[in-house]
Amino acid sequence: MDAIMTSPVSLSRPAVQRSFWRRHEKTLAPAMFLSPALFAFLLFVVWPILSSVWISFHEWDGLGPKIFIGLDNYRELFSDDKFYVALVNNIKWLILYLLAPVGGLIIALFLNQQMPGMRLIKALFFFPFVISQVVVGVIFSWFYDPNFGLLNVVLNAVGLPSIAPLGDEHMVTYAIIVAGLWPQIAYCMILYLTGLNNVNPELIEAARMDGCKGFPMFWNIILPQLRPATFIAVVVTVIGALRSFDLVAIMTNGGPYDSSTVLGYFMYEQAIFAYRMGYGAAIATVLFLIMDIYIAFFLVSMLRKEAE
């Protein structure tokens, strides 16, 4: 640090060059540093959001003129059975995805030991998160294949009949969620492993002295200390569940007959395959509004921390 504080004189400029820039440096510099990211973000993120909302008030096939129809797209959406199928599936995703923090925590507790080779073991457990959802989707489609998938091999081995999870309207969403949980549990596990590293050993010792062990120990001493990890795990899991698209697109395309569709896929399908840009934009807007609840929740707690 000292080396930097007594930084070379050459860094400072001669006073002669005190230009406009130099005089306003402290205001201009941050503007300059901010502007590229800000410009990119405004162009490709903020403006498209507003534009999508605007498009949602139109009927547009992506080719001809946009016809303003006010709230008609929303009216149609709220009376569209498919919308409720997608919404209910998103809720299924949301609820079942919350198994990921739980599963991640259990694995993390299981693996939280100091032993030679544990680092590699932990890395291998984390592995599923690093690979693409496309690959995860391929792997699980195969696992579920009614003819030769491992699932039926196992079911038959224990005397149960074969099933076709991806072809059955009652099973399909759950089958896809299981595939999604695999990498998501890995993600949560890593969050908790890091959290466990930072657990205060003195508190644990003190609790042990008081005869605290087993579940009360976990519940009263450990879990509160893992709160930051839990917070992040829950946030990323909820966002992941609402954003679900890749696995649905890869494993079923929303089928059979839309029974596994989610809002993200429903929107994509309406816009790309049915050429209904306005309707698609309306679905996207609804999804966006739902997610805003969680985004606001995250923002508030993040900024509150900031204020402290």
Binding site: G62, L63, G64, E76, D81, Y144, D145, P146, A164, L166, G167, D168, E169, T252, N253, G255, P256, Y257, D258, E269, I272, F273, A274, Y275, R276
Partner: protein, 409 residues
């Protein structure tokens, strides 16, 4: 003009020339992305280049599914000079929006109407031609002769009663009578098309496609009733919603299923060891209707905003030629539209060719004949019906609501 300006303008022209506007550059966008057809197309383009050494051809090949979306982008913006597309309603959609060039002059100059009598109608709107059809193919029921024999079926069924009887016998002999893979939806539409054509005839079918008949009409219900006669006894393979049409094929080849209603494009996929056991029959007769067929036709068009229409027309004329079509279709293993071109002597193709020549009329295919967004919903409805036939009425009511919306009635 300042030096800089001059430099800038020169540079600008140099850039624009090198990308698009160079006279003699012909930009072709194709969706023939499967390896074999792609190779065939490329060979033909070489041939075209040899005959027209002054034209520099640039071929862009796209994946079939995304092509359907992105063609809209090109046609209304930076247009290529030639696009591959489909005849019938699919073409008319762009013609109505004035995005395809009228090429009646190319037809007239090359006596197209006489050379391609069976398909000229599929590219004609209000008496004008908007593209060139270069290939089409038949649909029909491909079946395993050995399994038929084993089940005691003497000859391929010609009527609905015989068909049901054959299904029952096949099922009794321990094979699934009908193979289908409905995961990608469209194979279900083959069944709907044929049942509708056989039960209600071509006029009715086309009216339904054009949105002029409600899906809750008695005619459509009759079609579903006939369909249910196959679904309820379990004549279709189990779990068909888990397979694409490709994934379902092994069941056919392994002898677990006996029949497959599909396009002629399946025949190159037959493995050598079962090829001889395969044969083909026309979809059986149901009501008193002439025999209509599905015969999807593929086409080439010139976008209205193309830059090099002169050379594009040369290319379209080239695609009309019998020798070119013979060569092209031998690669595609499909049927040339030009009657002077020779379809390959493959027995399946010959049978299909014969059947189409005798057809009382042809349809393009469900997802080419009706509005694309309705087609998507329709095919999902068929898939659902094939899994849960009890929902038939409910499914049709839902589909009818969509029709009303799409066709604004």
């Amino acid at each position: 003009m300042s030096k800089f300006l001059r430099f800038a303008t020169t540079a600008f022209f140099a850039v624009s020339l090198s990308t698009t506007a160079l006279a003699g550059t012909l930009v072709i966008n194709s969706d023939q992305s499967d390896p074999a057809p792609r190779k065939g197309m490329e060979a033909l383009i070489e041939k075209f280049k040899k005959e027209n050494p002054d034209i520099d051809v640039k071929l862009n090949v796209f994946d079939k599914e995304s092509y359907k979306t992105s063609i809209r982008t090109w046609l209304s913006g930076e247009s290529p000079d030639v696009v591959y597309w489909y005849a019938g309603e699919r073409m008319k959609f762009f013609v109505d929006r004035k995005l395809f060039e009228d090429v009646s002059d190319v037809w007239a100059a090359n006596k197209g109407a006489e050379a391609m009598p069976s398909t000229v109608g599929s590219v004609t709107v209000d008496g004008k031609q908007y593209g060139v059809p270069y290939t089409y193919y038949n649909w029909g029921i491909y079946y395993r002769k050995d399994l038929f024999e084993k089940a005691g079926i003497q000859q391929p069924p010609k009527t609905w009663a015989e068909f049901l009887d054959a299904c029952a016998k096949l099922k009794a002999s321990g094979v699934a009578p009908i193979v289908i893979g409905s995961k990608a939806l469209w194979p279900t539409a083959g069944w709907f098309d044929y049942l509708n054509l056989r039960v209600n005839g071509m006029d009715y079918h086309m009216k339904l496609m054009a949105g002029q008949v409600p899906y809750t009409d008695k005619g459509v219900k009759d079609v579903f009733d006939k369909w249910a006669e196959l679904i309820r006894p379990g004549y279709f393979i189990e779990n068909h919603a888990s397979y694409t049409w490709q994934e379902s094929q092994p069941l056919f080849y392994q002898g677990k299923g006996a029949m497959y209603l599909i396009g002629n494009f399946i025949t190159p996929e037959f493995p050598a060891d079962v090829r001889d056991k395969m044969d083909f029959f026309q979809f059986p007769k149901i009501a008193d209707q002439p025999m209509y067929e599905d015969a999807p036709t593929d086409t080439v068009h010139i976008p209205a905003r193309a830059k090099n229409k002169v050379d594009a027309k040369k290319f379209l004329a080239f695609y009309m030629r019998p020798d070119v079509q013979t060569e092209l279709n031998s690669v595609l293993r499909q049927i040339p539209t030009n009657k002077d071109a020779k379809p390959s002597d493959d027995r399946f193709l010959q049978a299909g060719y014969k059947m189409l020549s005798a057809a009382a009329g042809t349809a393009q295919f469900y997802d080419r004949d009706t509005d694309p967004s309705l087609a998507q919903e329709g095919m999902k409805a068929f898939q659902e019906f094939m899994i849960i036939p009890d929902r038939g009425d409910e499914i049709l009511t839902r589909l009818e609501a969509r029709r009303k919306q799409v066709f604004k009635q």
